[in-house]
Symmetry: C2
Subunit: 191 residues, 2 copies
């Protein structure tokens, strides 16, 4: 997605320690039009996988996943990281280290909204180490649902996530790919 790569070039900032600041359009401030077009792009790329539901993780995954859900006419479930009192006791649960929080976060999905044999498309903001995505994959497995694809808005190609997830044998798509990230600059291309 050329527009997204250009947006990262223009508005992304490298903060050191592998952290890319994209809070001007993806988290904190959302460019709703860009997220809508990203959702449409996911819809096009994953149309052949015929998912029943989209799964993401709060918080930054919600906007792109909701827009993909709109484009594909599918419900969107987001894994909660803190249990609200509206959530039942027995949930599908996994955990993943958070890059931007510096700690382990839990991912929880209510069995009400993820059923056995549903075809699940995972959409999230980043594909980097793949650990958050892997937590969602684990939850799909707990539900005995069927994973049909993984889509990320931004991929960091040098953190090994794609290699790890490619063992799953499903379609993996990212809309922009960052090949290097340093004080010298951000190398990014359309994915």
């Amino acid at each position: 997605m050329i527009e997204l790569a250009q947006k990262i070039r223009d508005h992304g900032t490298y903060l050191g320690n592998g952290i890319l600041k994209v809070d001007g359009f993806l988290n904190h401030q959302i460019d709703a039009g860009l997220m809508h077009r990203a959702g449409q792009e996911f819809a096009k790329r994953f149309a052949a996988t015929t998912p029943d539901i989209i799964l993401t993780a709060e918080i930054s995954g919600i906007a792109p996943a909701a827009m993909a859900g709109l484009a594909m006419d599918l419900p969107v479930v987001y894994a909660r990281k803190h249990r609200p009192i509206t959530m039942p006791e027995n949930v599908f649960m996994s955990s993943a280290p958070s890059h931007t929080k510096g700690k382990i976060v839990q991912l929880m999905v209510s069995p009400e909204f993820l059923k056995a044999d549903q075809r699940v498309l995972i959409i999230d903001d980043f594909l980097a180490t793949g650990k958050t995505l892997n937590g969602l994959v684990d939850i799909v497995g707990q539900a005995q649902a069927e994973l049909v694809g993984i889509g990320a808005v931004i991929e960091k190609s040098f953190e090994g996530g794609r290699e790890m997830l490619s063992k799953l044998g499903i379609q993996i798509e990212s809309l922009a790919i960052i090949d290097s990230l340093s004080e010298a600059g951000i190398e990014v291309r359309a994915g």
Copy 2:
């Protein structure tokens, strides 16, 4: 919004203690099409207020606010409740008690994304006691921006939030209004 009132009638569950469970379409699972139509409805109702930006609070406000941003072609900023490492030290900050978390949460917005004199439309999932919305109003004031309207997906008319916020003298809209909530049932009408 008749469709939304019907959705609450069909899928809302009263959990006791004033808590309405709407995680089948608003939080946890998102009905993206319904949220899109809610966003379009906000766009229609607030068109005359000519906002520059939409402000909401993570997490449940993100989907309806993003859809309103899409319909109005506006950027959407969501107040963070936990500081990510991408956020600067000096932020606009307020606090509000969370009904579903049972504790005080902080609301933080980076000055990068909320500027003096911007016309701000606040969109959130619930208007109940009005305390979260009031926290956002406080942040708009800290930024010396101009509040032009407040929109909520669901209002609980019996918790006093509208009375408190009406002192601000701005347009307040909700798309569905719950007039009573008890074991006997949910009384809801289109707002």
